[in-house]
Symmetry: C2
Subunit: 618 residues, 2 copies
């Protein structure tokens, strides 16, 4: 086993065939947790996002959280319906990138691709930071370790994905269904309880506001901001249409039914949690407040007081399930990001080698890029979900807009009538407005990063494509081009004569009639020996002895090759470097691979090919 | 220019041909500063080392420093005389490694090699830390930055040596001769001055001691310890005999004359500085004492009070010259360490590739290893010369002992009569005793590192040699061995048909009759195109289309090769991967070099050779 393999195996474990996993067709009950974990997990933070906007203006506004959530749930169904159409139009999977590229044109496709790339990075940052906050709500003493815990969690996800952990349905099913059941159970039980009295602080805030305050322009602005923040609930909703191809036949019907189930669960959990949150007068806490708890954790403690054993159990179970579903949500980005890159690379906007997604090296580079970017964001924003979400939402809404606009454009092109395309149109308008509102209102808090990241990515896409286009023109074969006939000179490096060299001699002789053996004398003693040995095995091959006054191996060989090129400039020169392959990787340091140094030294010589012929040591 | 070259040029600058510099024959006046900087610079700390030992016992002992220095100067001439003989026996240069190996046997040679390797590392640590202390004596406010300054200085030396700074004689001559002139001037002027009265502290200490105190065993022990510490003055004395080959003809005469001059200067400066130090009742300061000054700096301030402009000038000049000669001393290790490694590698005790010293990659690895080890020691011992010197001296005395014992053994073997060999014998006994005394008395302060380092190095030497011996036996050609006749199959990877491929086709056809072109379909669209194109250029070569359901390039090719091996196990398979060589290095990321991934994947298949045929992009 090679050194590289050993190191890799040590770091990322024995390779497991993952790539086949995705090609099993999934039934709805298995597909739902796999594709819905991202969307459903956003209920862990969406309610809190609305409340935080209201809270800044006045605690009196908090009780509008439910109404805002209700309106957002309308938007959930609107967007879901647009993706419902996408599933039927692209039953093999139509992500925002493909839909925009095919229907709006290359430039919009590139924008969607860039937006999606940033989305996947932020999915990891946001989900992991929210997952860490769920744990901190459970164990307040961990609150000093939010960033290290987040970085460690991303590190574990990275290793798991580099190993190629097999994504079994069960791994997704248990946390996802647990989360759904615990959320709905909490909401259901909460509905039966009597509302507590309004706390002093809220009552006081309400008292300060004049009558009819909610009709003022100021309130409407705040409510709209709260609405746009709460739209974080929509993130992940596109997953089913992206991966529709993975569903059992009839694909489109199964996928769209699952989408409907997901949207319903999402809306129910989001609106329900917001309602119960209002009912129990939950006030969000600041991240660095002592004993920080997420809104969801506070709701749970109100519904099931931890003074009872059952309440403690429920609270623990919900926090753990929340963390797990958020980790799963982050994990979906690890499967989707390299796949998205391969789509983009196929169109020539990213390095072409990324298209061969099945090659582990390519896949692993994608994973590392994703992890490092997500870690950087997590560290920069101190693991505060609330600060990361605006960035996330802007990107998500850009891709929603492009996807829905693409579906509308498609309907126009295909002259599809009826009201359905107008749902996409309407959805596109709303998500575009939301993207702009978020971008402007959260500009200073970090949203400026989004247009910069998108511009850089677009620049990279365009630059790469331009390079490839240029090459295609340059390298295009012309009618006058023919395959040249070449003469070949083979140069065989012979450090000593041993068994390993015999095979290299055989190889050299099979390549050409014109073979020359080269021995560089680092040690005067060796010359007589090699001349004597050579007579026996290499009689047909002339042996050239090169002096090396300065004890360099590379310089004399380079000089000899340059001389050969000068004598016969048109021929190919193949330099054969016998290479020992030791049994143990660390023995490699005891064997010189001159080929590497020669490749560096001869980098600019055309028509020179440097080849290792290996011999295996026992 | 390749990516690698660009990065290297950025880091270490444009390559300069250094290797020729060493091959100019030097006159004495140029050779003296080059080879003597190491030895002469040890006067910067040797007096202080004696004083520190005495001081721990009683300030009253301090005035014996001169006597001890006088005895050590006798040892200087003794050892110098032994090396004088070495120069005549090995006029082309005989370091401790070669002398011991040739005359005492391989095991002693290995021990000398290991001792010398540690010596060179410690030459860097000790000289740089002493140089930093000279600067700190000049600018006391820098005393908090001793370690960072030392690390930075080693970093600068590393870069200078990686660049291959040309060692011009002037660079060595100016600081070395300045240091000698300033030292001798200070000593000479100091002799003319009247002695100041004995300070209270010393007088008090003398008062406490009973009469005849210096006859006691306790005093003798301390005096012997002081003697062994002061022997730090001997470090570097072997340099001329190591590098005798660099002297002008008549080599031996010039080299030995230079050795005599060096020994005289060294003894004069060392004994003189110790005498003046005693005369002015200098007491060494602790490193972390406020306003720390080296003993030499204190002496200078006594002889030339800084209240005068001349005194200030002299003080500044001496401190700067001291720092510079110490940096030069460190720099000599950078030339000698890789050369020593190449001697050892030629005997098979270090990786064989280190023998080709003329190859920059090899030379640079040696430099980096030296720098990192020296930095580690400097940091570990906080840049305190006094703590580093015992380690240094132990190694130096081990190699002195082996070298002198080797010269004695040589004289016995060659049956040389007379008294001269007995000088070496006597010198070997003394230096052996000194090595043991230092090792035992400084064991806890860090001397234990020396035997551990030596044992590890010896283990490495023996292990490496054993591996090479084993290989030599395994790979030895036997009478029945012949060069096999092999059949060759060539597999040419064709991603698209373009101009670059034409050359690869020509190359493939020149290798063998049995050429197959392989196209892996990552994109169904491309198949028709390539089939059409292929008819024109590759008609004689069968085109094999490989499906890749999981979008991998490597897997289908590997599978095809395995199948070909299974069909015809005896033949060689050459896989040709056309490789784009872009004009700008960063364009490299846009081009897939499948050869690397294929080499990893096919690492264990014998008889498979993977070759890049490059095409150059404009």
């Amino acid at each position: 086993m090679s050194f590289y393999s050993q190191v890799k195996r040590f770091l990322v474990g024995r390779p497991i065939a993952t790539k086949h996993a995705h090609h099993e067709r999934l039934p709805k009950r298995t597909a739902l947790p796999i594709f819905a974990s991202d969307a459903l997990s956003s209920t862990a933070y969406a309610t809190e996002e609305i409340m935080r906007v209201f809270m800044v203006a006045s605690l009196a506004y908090l009780h509008f959280t439910f109404e805002v959530a209700l309106v957002i749930s309308g938007l959930i169904f609107l967007v879901a319906f647009s993706y419902y159409q996408t599933i039927h139009a692209y039953p093999q999977g139509g992500g925002s990138y493909i839909v925009s590229r095919d229907n709006l044109g290359v430039r919009y496709g590139q924008l969607a691709g860039a937006a999606l790339m940033t989305d996947y990075i932020l999915t990891v940052s946001v989900s992991i930071s929210a997952g860490v906050l769920a744990i901190v709500s459970l164990v307040p003493s961990l609150s000093s370790y939010i960033v290290p815990m987040g970085v460690a969690a991303i590190g574990l996800l990275t290793i798991a994905n580099l190993r190629g952990a097999k994504e079994s349905g069960v791994v997704f099913a248990i946390p996802t269904y647990s989360f759904v059941v615990l959320m709905l159970g909490m909401i259901g039980w909460g509905l039966t309880l009597p509302a507590p009295p309004v706390p002093q602080s809220i009552a006081h805030a309400e008292h300060q506001l004049v009558d009819q305050f909610w009709m003022t322009a100021a309130f409407l602005t705040i409510a709209f901001k709260a609405f746009s923040s709460g739209c974080a609930a929509l993130t992940g909703i596109e997953a089913i249409s992206d991966g529709a191809g993975a569903f059992k036949e009839p694909t489109a019907r199964n996928a769209s039914a699952t989408l409907l189930i997901m949207a319903t669960l999402l809306a129910a959990m989001f609106v329900g949690a917001s309602f119960i949150g209002n009912k129990f007068h939950i006030i969000p806490m600041e991240l660095h407040q002592a004993g920080y708890k997420t809104v969801l954790a506070q709701v749970c403690q109100q519904v099931f007081p931890v003074t009872t054993a059952f309440g403690t159990f429920y609270f623990n179970a919900l926090q753990v399930a929340t963390t797990l579903i958020l980790i799963l949500a982050a994990n979906t980005a690890y499967a989707d990001f390299p796949r998205l890159c391969s789509f983009i690379a196929r169109d020539g906007f990213l390095p072409r080698q990324l298209a061969s997604l099945g090659d582990r090296l390519v896949f692993q580079n994608g994973i590392l890029f994703l992890s490092l970017s997500a870690m950087a964001l997590l560290v920069k924003f101190g693991g505060d979900t609330h600060l990361l979400i605006p960035l996330y939402s802007v990107g998500v809404f850009v891709s929603f807009t492009l996807s829905q606009a693409g579906m509308f454009a498609r309907a126009r092109k295909l002259k599809l009538g009826g009201w359905k395309p107008w749902v996409s149109f309407f959805g596109a308008i709303i998500t575009a407005i939301l993207a702009i509102v978020l971008l402007v209102s959260k500009w200073k808090e970090g949203a400026w990063l989004v247009p910069i990241a998108l511009s850089i990515l677009l620049g990279v896409f365009i630059g790469i494509r331009r390079h490839y286009d240029y090459l295609a023109r340059e390298l295009e074969v012309e009618p006058t081009d023919t395959v040249p006939k070449v003469r070949m000179t083979v140069i065989l490096l012979v450090p000593r004569l041993h068994k390993g060299i015999l095979q290299a001699i055989a190889y050299a002789e099979s390549l050409s009639e014109d073979v020359r053996a080269i021995h560089v004398t680092l040690d005067a003693k060796s010359v007589a020996k090699i001349k004597e040995d050579w007579v026996r095995f290499g009689e047909e091959i002339p042996l050239v002895i090169l002096e090396s006054p300065f004890r360099s191996l590379v310089d004399p060989v380079t000089a000899y090759i340059d001389q050969t090129i000068a004598e016969t400039p048109d021929q190919f020169i193949t330099v054969i470097v016998p290479e020992a392959v030791p049994k143990r990787w660390y023995h490699r340091f005891l064997h010189n691979n001159v080929a590497i140094a020669l490749k560096l030294a001869l980098g600019t010589r055309k028509n020179v090919v440097i080849t290792n012929v290996r011999y295996f040591l026992k």
